[in-house]
Symmetry: C2
Subunit: 190 residues, 2 copies
DNA sequence: AGTTTTATTTAACAAATGTTAAGTGCTTAA
DNA sequence: TTAAGCACTTAACATTTGTTAAATAAAACT
């Protein structure tokens, strides 16, 4: 059940039995149906999720339109971070693109783990470092690459995602309009 | 001398006298002239810098061209993070746009502080969290905003930067070509 | 099965940005 | 002080992406 999470964690730190037990007492697994919301707009994000199954998207309402900033890959962490770190109402919304199984930990519990086990604080830092590096990679990609190359790269990196995620979200993620993505898909000769 | 750094740190954690002393023993201040390189391509980044004075840029060689991904604002941290965290040769280069005064700490010393003082590990996590949030903000901006709006936003947030940083770097940062930025600047009616 | 909603495509035209090639003015260095 | 390089601008044309409005396809619902 926790295999995916443990594999993920072990990339960053070595967990022993105690660390695991401390964690298991503080997590819960929840199930979301398609379009269910994990973090609502205006809510103070006090939970973080590991996507054990399914895809979440992070978006916000921009002039009446939903803008999807992120589609979480399988086996990764997601929360509305600006709200989570500053405990202010979230402008970001997180909802389930597909059916999801999430391993969830509350902010308080996470803070407890951070404060009690230095290893946890380290884990948190390492994970966020990786997320930051990935985020910078995406910025390079916006600066130097055409939408077509970004699309091809996405296909290669997450082939499953294209199967399960509607193109309108993919288009947002790539920074272009749905119609442009459609045109682009047509023009690609493989 | 360390005022700016201490102010920055105190946004995130409360430092006492011991924390400060532990730090002061492990930092050094260096001076860079314009165009001096702080992290070379291929080097393993083992230092992180706080920009006490001046502007750094983070770039890499992309098909014969230098692509500037980041211009560090005053009083912020900079390193070639992918190299720094994984200790692999850096594809990113960091150099001084203007004369710079940097407060520098070595990776080993930082690791020592992380391991010895939980507060430091927390500080590291908090800082990187903020950097990540800022990075996500920039991604939203690439997705939803035109280059003109991104330019105006930059002007407003860092008015000094435009004075001291050549437009070619600003253009890269905004994700457009120098000539497009020039055209855009002309067409703005304030 | 039939109806409604959602997903995706298509097309014509508009707007934004890129490309190439010059030009101007400013700074730097022999 | 002149020559060289750098920073920035300009302009014409090309390409990419956006916009609007439909059409078709697929999925979800009753």
């Amino acid at each position: 059940m926790l295999d995916n999470l443990l594999n993920f964690i072990n990339q960053f730190v070595d967990f022993n039995q105690n660390d695991l037990i401390a964690m298991q007492e503080r997590i819960e697994t929840i199930h979301l149906n398609k379009n269910d919301i994990f973090i609502h707009e205006g809510e103070i994000a006090d939970r973080i999720a590991f996507t054990n199954k399914g895809y979440l998207r992070v978006y916000y309402n921009h002039e009446g339109e939903e803008i999807t900033r992120d589609i979480t890959p399988l086996h990764s962490f997601a929360t509305a971070l600006p709200s989570f770190v500053s405990q202010t109402p979230s402008f970001e919304i997180i909802s389930a693109i597909t059916e999801c199984e999430l391993i969830v930990i509350k902010r308080n519990d996470l803070e407890f783990l951070y404060s009690t086990f230095p290893k946890w604080e380290r884990l948190g830092r390492r994970i966020i470092e990786e997320m930051f590096v990935e985020s910078q990679r995406r910025i390079y990609s916006f600066i130097t690459e055409t939408a077509e190359i970004r699309y091809k790269r996405l296909l290669k990196q997450y082939p499953d995602m294209i199967r399960d995620v509607p193109l309108k979200y993919i288009a947002d993620f790539l920074g272009i309009k749905l119609q442009s993505l459609s045109r682009l898909r047509k023009s690609i000769d493989w």
